[in-house]
Amino acid sequence: MKDIDKSFRKDTETEFPLREELRPRSVTAPDGQVIEIDPLQDYFCQEPPKVHKQSYFKIVEDFYNWARAHSLWILGFGTGCGAIEMRPLMTPRFDAYRYGIQWRPTPRQANLLVISGYLSVKTLKRAIRAYEQMPSPKYVVGLGSCTINGGMYWDSYNTIKRLDDYLPVDLYIAGCMPRPEALLAGFMDLKKLIRKGKAEGANKYAENFDWYKANQKSVIKDWDMPDYNW
């Protein structure tokens, strides 16, 4: 890239202060005792994620994987313009339900996170939170070129370029935007991965937790949440 002015250096010095509601404070209890509150410690569970072993018997795990493959519950969370391509999947024309795919409104009940398009840093924080709150095994599908290499936002100051730096992506569906047919094909491929037991993103995330966190924190300067959002 020739046209870059090397003289510009981003500011790496300034720290963003912790948000006020998360700063440690002391409050007076009803009995007059003054107690210290450290919101991050007191409000949030600080455990790191665990690497979950597979079931003791392969046949059981295979059975489970078969069930997981045929019961893909997508978190209803649209991050970019790609979200518009997800909606037709529910319509009679594409009817994703017949493949065991359905949308859930809460991450606790979803096991597939579709990053549907460009992901600004601000949204990345929410995506991380949503991903971490999903129970494992969980899968991430990156939708469109923006999640692959930044796409048309390749020079944006506020849009990430490689989703797999931050979340363990199982599958990318290329295109700008991919059509619903492409999405369906992608989900079918994901099913195959799951059935083969190759979609272990959650474990990968737990194993490389420090790496992921370092990447995430390098772009999210106001990290105002625990390291892992249970």
């Binding site: 002015d5 090397k6 250096r9 100051y157 849009t159 370029k161």
Partner: protein
């Protein structure tokens, strides 16, 4: 029409020349000191009741910011843009949130993206769109977004960048004819 208005106002305000873009769209430079009085008169006397937008331009070469107040007279379907210039080294604008409450939102955006201060505007120093931003305001032209992006986000190998013009020409006319 716009010219009549311009002539009418010129007698009392220090106005620049009228730059007409269309019959019903024109811009004019005004002094910062006159701005408020002019806005009030335009709103209350001349029917420019609607503040369509308030935005800024970074004239880095001239060392100044330009604020554009785009006012619309719905009844007459006319739009007048007032341009005010601020010193880039110490950019401080005058808040007009008391004239149009929506202006507070514009001013908050300008504060965040250009670093132009509007003392007295409600919540002007709070985060607006960016979250946890610590670098220089990103709409200033000395902020190099590409460099920032490269220093912040990692590239994926194998990505190719084409100049759209030459790329499409090559694709459409592989033999090179025009």
């Amino acid at each position: 029409m716009m010219r009549d208005l311009h002539d009418h106002l010129k007698t009392r305000y220090r106005l620049g020349d009228l730059a007409e873009r269309r019959g019903n769209l024109a811009f004019v430079d005004v002094e910062r000191a006159d701005l408020r009085a002019l806005l009030v008169e335009l709103r209350d006397v001349h029917g420019f009741t609607h503040l369509s937008l308030l935005t800024a331009v970074d004239w880095i070469e001239e060392g100044r910011f330009q604020l554009t107040y785009l006012m619309n007279n719905r009844a007459a379907n006319r739009t007048l843009g007032l341009r005010v210039f601020l010193d880039r080294a110490d950019p401080v604008g005058d808040t007009i949130h008391d004239l149009w409450p929506t202006a507070a939102t514009y001013q908050r955006e300008l504060r965040e993206m250009f670093g132009i201060a509007f003392p007295g505007s409600p919540r002007v120093d709070e985060e607006f769109i960016l979250e946890g931003w610590t670098d220089m305001p990103p709409y200033r032209r000395d902020f190099d977004t590409l460099a920032y992006s490269q220093q912040t986000f990692s590239d994926r190998e194998g990505r190719e960048t084409h100049d759209p013009r030459s790329h499409m020409a090559k694709k459409l006319y592989p033999e090179g004819q025009r």
